[in-house]
Amino acid sequence: MNKAVINSIFLPLFFLLVVFPVIALVINLDVQGIQATMADAFFWISVRNTVIAAALAALLGLVVAIGFSYYYLFYQDSIIYRIANLFNDLPIALPHTVAGLALLLAFGRKTCGFLGETGAAFTLLAVVLAMFFVSYSLAARTLVSGVDQMEKEVVDVARTLGDNTAQAYFRVVLPMMGEAIFSGFILGFSRSVSEFAAVIMFGGNLPGSTQVLASYVFTKVEVGDLDMAVTAAVFCVLLSLVIVSVLSFRRVRHA
């Protein structure tokens, strides 16, 4: 075994299966398609909605994940933790349309009629909730992993200095988990940006208000506007690349 062997297995697989499809997209860019897409107001609105909703969803995911890892760190024997742990990975296991349907039945007008004509459904809030639902697990896992990697003595010392578990958590644990918190946000954001089945079902997919970028691309494919679809898709790729670069940059800085 030497480096040449690893190279000859890893490199072809990586380039073929990961890089090449992206290149295929870029090669198929068409000037007219780009112009048409850039001029389409619905495109820009869907970009704006997607970014805002994904950021809010990721933030919400972080908040809940921070709560979850508090129980993970201090109260693993409690009922709260055990129940939460059981449900933690459930959203990821659900097919996305099912997740969307579940949210619709839970927060649609039959239960939340007081919120509006259609309950919480078919609003930007619904888009945020759907994105949160499918990306929360990632944030939780990241934070739990961050807690695992932390030196526990620090918490012990804080407690002997008078902190109760909550004080120790906010004053000492969270500040030291900066990396994990940031990763949790980025992962939640990326996952939210690429979600569409659950968002369509619960959010409504209305161009100009609740349509997200992923669905925009899909619609363009289906109605045959392939050029515009490719442009929007490449835009998605660029957005993801920016996100990933920011993540790597921060990692390097902290190394």
Binding site: L105, G108, A121, I200, G204, V223
Partner: protein
């Protein structure tokens, strides 16, 4: 030793992938054969495989037709259900297909323009209907009621043919501009529209008569085809495919159009 192991891993991986590809391009086991008395002894297409693409909305009747055809001719049908547009895109990209059933004649035209058409046939007609939910029944009795404030409406997104026809109808009936923000959702498939109405998440929805009937929705108005556009479900045998077998299936389906009528379509006259 480790080198050997790595090589084995790669070979296994490659074989696995070939296996998956092979499995997908083929052989679904034949659909069960109960319920068809007209089994012809001729079995003239025994062992031959027909690759069939069908718009998802036609699944229930089409499953019956496929079972009957397999029993009668001995052929094996491999069916791919999907959205009409998506299926067309696959055909356009060169996916092997012998026969294509579309929920919108516009895609059959596209097959022709792409010069992949062997033979086509207009098969079924459908209408866009206005269906209401339990709550909606009190508010909406016809299309014009959709312009009332506090009415929530759902129709499909343009990527589903029914979304295009529904929008056409609303424009032709001069209602589109008066809807305000009553359109609350435009999901990507007709089935999602049906679910939203059925679960009373909206007051009304515009969808195909066949789908509405299939979901037992209350229909308050049927849209005339002069307003929505003629909704023709058609089929196309693809050039380069098994044309004789495809033609045999087309004929079989047409002979048994009553199965489709049972599910809410009308035969194309």
């Amino acid at each position: 030793m480790k080198k050997y192991l790595a090589l084995c891993l790669v070979v296994l991986l490659a074989l696995g992938m070939v296996g998956i590809v092979g499995c997908n391009s083929g052989d679904k086991p034949p659909v069960s054969q109960e319920g068809n008395q007209a089994a012809d002894d001729s079995q003239q297409y025994k062992g031959q495989k027909l690759t069939l693409f069908v718009a998802a909305g036609m699944k229930k009747p089409m499953d019956e037709i496929i079972a009957g055809f397999q029993a009668k001719t001995g052929a094996v049908v491999s069916v791919n259900y999907g959205p009409s547009g998506g299926l067309y895109a696959q055909i356009d990209q060169g996916q092997p297909c012998d026969l294509y059933y579309s929920a919108d004649w516009i895609y059959i035209d596209k097959v022709e323009q792409a010069e992949k058409l062997e033979k086509s046939r207009k098969f079924l007609k459908d209408n866009v209907v206005l269906a209401v939910s339990d709550t909606g029944a009190a508010k909406v009795n016809n299309i014009n009621d959709l312009t009332k404030p506090d009415v929530s409406l759902v129709l499909a997104d343009p990527q589903a043919p029914v979304g295009v026809y529904a929008e056409n109808a609303l424009r032709a009936l001069k209602v589109w501009d008066k809807l305000g923000d009553n359109i609350k959702a435009r999901p990507t498939t007709v089935n999602q529209v049906a679910i939203m109405v059925k679960e009373d998440q909206v007051d009304a929805g515009l969808l195909f008569s066949s789908v509405a009937r299939g979901n037992e929705l209350k229909v308050v108005e049927t849209i005339d085809e002069k307003d929505s556009g003629e909704i023709v479900f058609g089929c196309a045998a693809i050039k380069g495919g098994k044309s004789e077998l495809a033609a045999a299936f087309m004929d079989y389906a047409s002979e048994n159009v009553n199965v489709f009528e049972k599910y809410g379509w009308k035969a194309y006259e």
